[in-house]
Symmetry: none
Subunit: 130 residues, 4 copies
DNA sequence: GTGGTCTAGACCACC
DNA sequence: GTGGTCTAGACCACG
C-alpha cells in the first residue's frame, strides 16, 4: 500500500494517511493480518517524516483500526473492516456537508451545485482512468 | 452586511470573512462604493477581534477587491464585482474538487456521490428555509 | 497655484501640499503678499478634503512660512522666500539620503546608482517636456 | 542573516524586513533551501516582536518568495533568487522615481540633482567604510 | 471617526 | 522545535 499525500492542500498529512488507510481497508486492498507497512517503509514510500506516519498509526490504534503486535508491528484489527466500510461514505459526507452549507448560505442554486459536481466528477474520471 | 463565523470549523476566521465578503459582492448585497462596514463595526457584529477583521480586509486589499481611502474607510473596488462573480463558483469548485478526488481515488462510484450530494443538499435546504 | 496630489504614493496628502507650497514660493510662482489660495479653493482644485488643506496650512504657519491676516486669509511671509529657497534642495536631499543608504547597505554599486538616476531622470524629462 | 530595522524612519518595520530579506536573497547571503531564520530567531536578533516578523514572512510567502514547510520552517523558494535579483534595482528605482519626479516638477536642474546624488553617496561611503 | 502598525501573550497544529 | 491564529490593548496618521 502506497499513500499519496499532498503537502500543500491544507489537510494535515497524518490525517491524509489515516483516511487513506481506512479507505484501503474498506476496499480490501489492505487485509486483516499484518499487512500494514512499517512506519519507516510508509514514510519512505510516501516521502514524509517518520514521526508523521507514527502519528497517523497512533490515531488508527486509538480508534481500534490497528492493533500492535509485540515485536512484529501493526496489524489490521478484525473489526476494522466492518468499521471502515461503514465510515467510507461518512468521511466523504462529512466534508461535503461543509461545502454545501457554504454554498446554500450564499445563494448558490441546486442546479449550479449539481452542474459543478457533474463537471468536476467528469474531469477527475479522465485524470486517472482506472 | 453581517458575517457569520464559526470559530470551530477549522477554517481560519479571517478566511471565512474573506470568503463571505466575496460572496456578498458577487451577490450584490455589497455594492461598489464605500459600503463595506468598518473593521470595528464588522468586528462587533461578527463577535470577533478587530485585528482579525483587519487581517481579512488586508487580504482583500492585496487581492484588489477592496481599496483603502485614507481616513475614510475601505471601498469595494470597481473591478471587484466582476472578479468576485467569477470566483463565486470557483471557490466552491476548488473545495469540491479535493473531496471528489479523494472519493474517486478510493473507489466511490458516481452513483454514490450523486446520492450523497442529493441527500445532503436536501437536508441543508430544510435547515434554514428562509 | 494648483497642487497635484497623489493619494496613493504613501506620502501624506497634507505633506505633499506643504512641500509644493514651499517649492512654489522658492520658484517665485507664489509671491509675497496675499496670493495663497483659500483653503476651500485649494481643496477644490486639488480635489482633496478641506481639513487636509487646513492641516497643511497650519503646518506652514507654525513654520513661519505663512501668516494669518485677519479676515483676509493667509499670506506668504516676507522671510518665507529666503527660507524656502534655502530648503529647496534640502527637502530633496533628505529623502535621497534614505534611499541611497538602503542601496549602499545592500551592495548596490556607485555605478549602478548613477545609471539608475540617469535613466530615471531621462524618463521624467520626457514625461512633461516643459 | 541579521536585519537592521529603524523604528523611526516612517517605513513599517515589517516592510523593512521584507526588503532586507529580498536583498539578502539577491545577494546570495540567503541561499535557496531552509536557511531563513525562524520568526523567533529573527525577532530576537532584530529586536522586534515575533508577530512583526511573522507579518513580514507572510507577505514574502504571498509573493512566492518564501514557502512554508509544515513544522519545519520557511524556505527560500527556488524561483525566489531570480525574482529578487530582478527586483533588486527595481526597489531602489521605484523610490528614486518619486523623489526625482518631485524634483523635476519643481524646477530642480539635472546638474543640481547629480551633485546631490554625488555628495550624498560620498557621505554614505565614509559612514561605513568596511 | 477611519485604517495601520506594533506589542504582548496565549493556544494550537505540525514535524 | 517550527509557523499559524487569535485576542487584547496601545499608539499613530489621516480626514
Amino acid at each position: 500500500m502506497i499513500c499519496h499525500v499532498d503537502a500543500s492542500n491544507g489537510i494535515p498529512i497524518y490525517e491524509q494517511i489515516v483516511r487513506q488507510v481506512k479507505f484501503a481497508i474498506a476496499n480490501g486492498s489492505l487485509l486483516v493480518g499484518e499487512h500494514i507497512p512499517s512506519v519507516r517503509e510508509m514514510a519512505t514510500t510516501a516521502a514524509v517524516n517518520v514521526n508523521t506516519v507514527a502519528r497517523a498509526y497512533r490515531d488508527l490504534q486509538s480508534e481500534g483500526i490497528l492493533i500492535s503486535i509485540r515485536g512484529t508491528g501493526l496489524a489490521v484489527a478484525i473489526c476494522a473492516v466492518e468499521k471502515c466500510r461503514g465510515d467510507r461514505l461518512e468521511m466523504i459526507r462529512e466534508r461535503l456537508r461543509h461545502i454545501l452549507r457554504e454554498a446554500v448560505q450564499n445563494g448558490i442554486t441546486s442546479k449550479e451545485v449539481q452542474e459543478l459536481v457533474r463537471s468536476e466528477w467528469a474531469t477527475l474520471q479522465q485524470e486517472q482512468p482506472p
